[in-house]
Symmetry: C2
Subunit: 234 residues, 2 copies
DNA sequence: TAAATATTCAATTGATCAATTGAATATTTA
DNA sequence: TAAATATTCAATTGATCAATTGAATATTTA
């Protein structure tokens, strides 16, 4: 192999590996999942991921270095977000690949359901059909700020901690579909548990908003999140 | 955050990170690119990547552990291959994401063309149109064994080292499109250089066969490579 | 201007990973 | 069966990375 080709390849693969390195840490994968919901401050991310602010900041610097995220300073706050939609799609494909190839992950996912009674899922394709017919109620159980940054069209925002207070507003004779942050999040599972315990017909949609978007691109109920205030503003 | 949720997330992200770790090494990314062309023995991979057999084997064990590759023992040989098509698609999306986000990589790619005169590219979409019209000649300049394992439909195999011997067989009045292993490989660039130096109209298709496949799924000139002999059999 | 707050930076430490080396193992052939 | 060959394994060493700690920096407010 020619020396020039060797140099080219070494350089090219080193650049590709920047992204690989960024997603080689479980912590950073979790951060990326959080940022899939919209932009967040460092301390919000730290709280969501149970890490110190300093450690979170370090990980975010790594994500910046690999160009997967961007940030904007607003006062004393730094708001981080995914660099663009292709990053979200890449993370989704990583998740789907792992689900397909890693049996240990398959097992973890199955345990969600074996550890709980009566949690059922709905596929996105079926949800789309049902929503067109109007015989389903879709609820987003993430924090309201995330709903406001982006959500599946037609969804109602009921953050998980408010769910029990809102039971009276929900139709007892219609199926309720609950979704949250995606495949690695249990909020929607909890929601379905609560709903079913109260006699509602409820199922989980495990796909995230970004997954919805990447499969239903003609919908556009997504606004750029950088001009929205994050929950830290009080 | 609940303890149970914490445990779930830690476990899930640890599993996802297995794939991240696998692609955090430049060397392994190069190996995956080689395996995108079809199954190979350890020593062939070692030779292609300029690594020792022992080091190559170590990296391959890492790729096995993350389920991105599989192998089959045949006599004293171990033939490694990508686990399935979703792995190839994932690597392609990594490459495309990096090309989009990493300016240093963009620069490396531009230098291919600034360091050489007159290398032009053709897009896959245009190639498809041209091939339907029949006014283009497509050549695959990879090693013949790779061509035989899989290739773009309609391509003629002319390994780069044979190209000058085959000039007489090529049409001087028709555009020739050369392709090779993909975006990180320079064989097709060299081929275009040679062809143009000899007065042919030649352009480069930088997409790989796997990219072709992921965008043109109705074609099926791909046979499972595990029943084919690798170039090491003499 | 000082105090309060959010974040980054730098140093340290322990953990993890990559390359090398050479022995061990498996397969084939004469 | 011994020799040749392909590959893996295990140990070692040096390099790299993650978490912690606390100082430094930037922003805002009274």
């Amino acid at each position: 192999m020619e020396k020039e080709t060797r140099v080219f390849k070494d350089n090219v693969y080193a650049q590709l590996a920047r992204i690989g390195k960024a997603i080689s840490s479980p912590r950073r994968l979790e951060i990326l999942d959080i940022l899939m919901q919209g932009s967040k401050t460092v301390e919000t991310i730290a709280r969501e991921t149970d890490m110190s602010v300093a450690n979170t900041s370090q990980h975010l610097q790594t994500l910046l270095e690999s160009r997967l995220v961007e940030y904007e300073k607003r006062g004393v706050y730094s708001y981080y977000k995914l660099a663009d939609r292709t990053v979200a799609n890449f993370i989704i494909s990583l998740q789907l690949l792992a689900e397909k190839r890693i049996t240990e992950l398959q097992k973890l996912r199955e345990e969600i359901y074996t550890n709980r009674d009566n949690i059922e899922q709905i596929k996105m394709s079926e949800l789309i059909v049902r929503m067109k017919k109007g015989n389903v109620t879709l609820i987003d159980v993430r924090p309201k700020e995330e709903y406001e940054m982006m959500h599946i069209p037609g969804a109602n925002s009921i953050p998980i901690e408010d769910l029990e207070k809102h039971l009276a507003t929900l139709p007892i004779n219609q199926e309720i579909v609950a979704y949250c942050r995606g495949r690695c999040c249990l909020l929607s599972v909890e929601a379905v548990e609560i709903l079913r315990a109260h006699g509602f017909k409820a199922v989980r949609l495990e796909a995230s908003v970004q997954e919805w978007l990447s499969q239903n691109d003609e919908y556009s109920n997504v606004h750029d999140c950088c001009n929205k205030k994050n929950s830290n503003i009080s």
